[in-house]
């Protein structure tokens, strides 16, 4: 259930990619596109298997009386072709040929690609280099040309040609599998499996293959369509043995196009139905893996529309600012649409105020909605989020009613933001300096902006501002990156600074320095700070007031000393109690020395 409770908030990385098999099957069954394509494929397979029973002529049998027979002729229901052969039986035979071609080509490419991809990706090193080199070489070969040139070897047999085609298509599968395995190989559960003494074979088949199988199914459907089309294309060109197939049928109909255009219709329809349903199935399967269907999207859009309408009705009351506080949030609620379309409220009627020059801590455990609340104030929630509030205003200006353009203007001089992960908030392809200058360019010319950035970098304690200015993000440490982001945040003298776990990703010694810096800047610029954190040490270090959140509600608000010494709410008490006491030391002796020991 935790997955449903968790909104796609920015502080959550995607969980394990794997989804439950049953869930995928159910999602497929609910999707008309998937059901339709599977039914079409099954029906075509069935027709082709029943061909001996439901056709009265051999596909190669030609009858002079039925040359170009019209549709509906007795015994030749779809008519005869230019050589008087039964179009109906040729059509069924073509389905068989296409399906066989698809099976051979797909099977070969999947087997080769998966086996080598798993091994190369998992073992790595030399094996990976050699395999990747070979597959890249195969990828560089001109596929169609080779198939045609090798006709003397395959003696025109389409099965052998498809076998070759499978080999030629295997690099695509190989690359897909190898890259995914490389991603999985470093996962901790693979390490844990090694430590548990599992054999490599077992790890590959049970743990690694699980992750790659979904994308393989999708890839296989696409390869199957390629095989069918290549087979049809070669047959259309008249290359290879004279087997009945969509390609040869289309080619014949082509010569007869002006006299009997309907002959072109049947093979084209067959080919389109076959490849179309394969591609639609692949799309549906991908949707099922991702957990979204068009129907659910439509439902949720309707639900959002309902809520926004209600919010609009309530809006007039929220227009006037009531309090004197710089930042006022009253009864803020945030909801997200569920996959089935209903709304899931993650933040319920949270209220908080931040006065100018005050540091307020927004404290809570993971999933308490503290980051969501901060992001709602910043207007940074994903657009599917439904945000409502009785009041949400900064300096008397309502925040929620703002257009994106107004919000943009407000960010900077009004609100600034310091993120949790400094590294992922700097663009790796630009220098630190250019990113900071970019933000200031709106208000001042470039030369002046550069000067200002250098001053700021020096102010936030960066030893060599010039060098850091010209560095790329990967060349500086996490602590430095956080200083850079702080410099960027305070560059425009914001009234409110929202810091989301600004030190969580940092080492304690670096954390201490960053906290010092934040305190100094806050006093110097008389900023109001809303500090989102789960660390009570950080709260004790920096905050004047504290708002405690739990499960999307604000359970207690109070002055920092009062929260620590006399927490009023049960939950706050339990939180304070579970802080590991600095005085308690483990005193019991190791069990091997003394069986009993009091803590």
């Amino acid at each position: 259930m935790s997955q449903q409770l968790a909104p796609p908030g920015p502080d959550r990385t995607a969980a394990a990619p794997a989804k439950r098999k049953r869930r995928v099957t159910r999602a497929l069954l609910r999707n008309p596109m998937a059901v339709g394509s599977v039914v079409t494929l099954a029906a075509m397979t069935l027709l082709c298997l029943l061909a001996p029973v439901i056709t009265s002529h051999d596909p190669m049998y030609s009858s002079v009386e039925h040359v170009n027979a019209p549709t509906g002729t007795e015994g030749w229901w779809l008519g005869g072709d230019a050589q008087g052969r039964d179009m109906w039986s040729r059509l069924l035979a073509s389905i068989g040929v296409s399906l066989t071609a698809a099976l051979i080509g797909t099977g070969v490419s999947i087997v080769i690609g998966v086996v080598f991809g798993l091994i190369a990706g998992y073992v790595g090193r030399a094996i990976d280099s050699i395999a990747s080199w070979v597959f890249n070489l195969v990828l560089a070969l001109p596929t169609l040309l080779i198939l045609i040139v090798l006709l003397p070897v395959t003696r025109g047999s389409y099965q052998l040609t498809m076998l070759l085609l499978g080999v030629m298509l295997s690099p695509g599968v190989y690359r897909l599998v190898r890259n995914m395995v490389i991603g999985v190989r470093r996962e901790l559960y693979i390490d844990a499996a090694k430590v548990a003494g599992l054999s490599t074979w077992r790890i590959l088949t049970r743990h690694v293959f699980f992750v790659v199988r979904g994308p393989i199914v999708i890839q296989a459907a696409f390869i199957a369509t390629i095989c069918i089309n290549v087979q049809a294309g070669l047959a259309f060109l008249g290359v290879g043995a004279n087997t009945p197939s969509f390609g040869s049928m289309i080619s014949q109909a082509f010569t007869n196009l002006y006299g009997h255009p309907v002959q072109l219709l049947w093979p084209t329809l067959g080919l389109v139905a076959l490849t179309g349903s394969l591609i639609l199935f692949a799309n549906a399967y991908r949707d099922a893996l991702a957990g979204t269907t068009t129907a659910a999207r439509r439902r949720s859009r309707r639900a959002i529309a309902d809520v926004t309408r209600h919010a609009d009705e309530a809006a007039p009351a929220a227009e006037k600012p009531t309090g004197k506080a710089l930042l006022t949030v009253q009864d803020l609620s945030i909801a997200y649409p569920r996959p089935d379309g209903s709304l899931n409220e993650v933040v319920h009627k949270v209220s908080l105020t931040v006065d100018s020059g005050e540091v307020v801590g927004l404290v809570g455990e993971s999933g308490s909605g503290k980051t969501q609340t901060a992001f709602a104030i910043l207007g940074l929630l994903p657009h599917e989020a439904v945000v409502t509030a009785k009041e949400a205003s900064l300096d008397g200006r309502p925040l929620l009613a703002m257009t994106p353009a107004e919000l943009r203007k407000l960010r900077g001089p009004g609100v600034a933001y310091i993120p949790q992960e400094p590294m992922s908030n700097l663009d790796p392809s630009f220098t630190v300096g250019s990113q900071l200058v970019e933000a200031l360019r709106r208000t001042m010319p470039r030369v002046q902006a550069r000067q200002r950035v250098l001053e700021l970098l020096a102010r936030v304690g960066i030893p060599d501002p010039e060098r850091t200015f010209d560095s790329y993000p990967h060349q500086i440490s996490g602590g430095m990156a956080q200083r850079v982001l702080i410099a960027g945040a305070v560059a425009t003298h914001p009234k409110v600074l929202i810091a989301d776990e600004p030190t969580t990703a940092l080492d304690v010694t670096v954390q201490a320095e960053i906290l010092d810096l934040l305190r100094e800047l806050q006093r110097e610029l008389k900023m109001a700070v809303l500090l989102v954190t789960h660390n009570f040490g950080v709260v004790a270090d920096l905050c004047d007031r504290v708002v405690v959140m739990r499960d999307g509600r604000d359970v207690e608000t109070g002055e920092v000393r009062q929260i620590f010494s006399r927490p009023a709410h049960e939950y706050t008490k339990s939180l304070i109690d579970s802080i590991l006491d600095e005085e308690t030391l483990r005193t019991d002796a190791p069990v091997s020395k003394a069986k009993e020991g009091a803590r």
Partner: protein, 281 residues
Amino acid sequence: MNPLLQIDDLRLRYPGGGFRRRLPEVLKGVSLHIEAGETLGLVGESGSGKTTVGRAVLGLAQATGGTITFEGQDITHLPAGRNRGDAREIQVVFQDPYTSLTPALQVRGILSEPLIAQGIARSDAERRVSSLLDRVGLPKDSADRFAREFSGGQRQRIAIARALALEPRLIVCDEPVSALDLTTQARVLDLLIELQRNTGVAYLFITHDLAVVRHISHRVAVMYQGEIVETGPAATVTRHPQNDYTKRLLLAAPTADPDAQAERRAARQALRGRAEVPTAS
């Protein structure tokens, strides 16, 4: 008596770096030992090499110098996997409970897999699953669910159960509670201590959190840039540190009391200012 685990002058350099430019050494001669049933807290900041020590002990990283001896047997160059012999008595609990449990299997599979790999019959292994779940305080019906259906704390309990499955003598705990919420953190630590009392398993407890180290360790070793800078009984190291780095580390950790924290801050700033070193309150 020989210690359970003895590490002597362990050196490690990751392969790679390119032609004539090797990567710097991650471990520059680390020596430590762990007695049976004891917890050694290994403290350090990111990049100090503490996780690498754990990975070398587990056979997940290959030492380039020094020796690791487990129960008198040299395991320095035994990689993790099927051929590790008695070294399988070293198990692991990783930091991130979200990526350390396979998405492919139900809890039953996760817990019985190590046993089946040891040649224990499937039915016996599955019978052991419920007793393992019981020991880590999870309900019996957890066995039929997938790891992703559990919260962070519960997942970490599953990971602990998996480590316990092979009845190890040493568990390497790599930041096992860092990713957990405060309340959950305390409960998981208590579980680890209780399991140690009942089974006599030893822990190599790797963490950056000094409060956690105080809570669970008998002895503490402090790592800085690939070297052990200070080691000793938990009380001595965390209350009267000798080494400058340890002092800085202790003063940098904010305490959850506004007034005490203000004092500590002043002390830290004084230490940074190269003034007279005051003792922590």
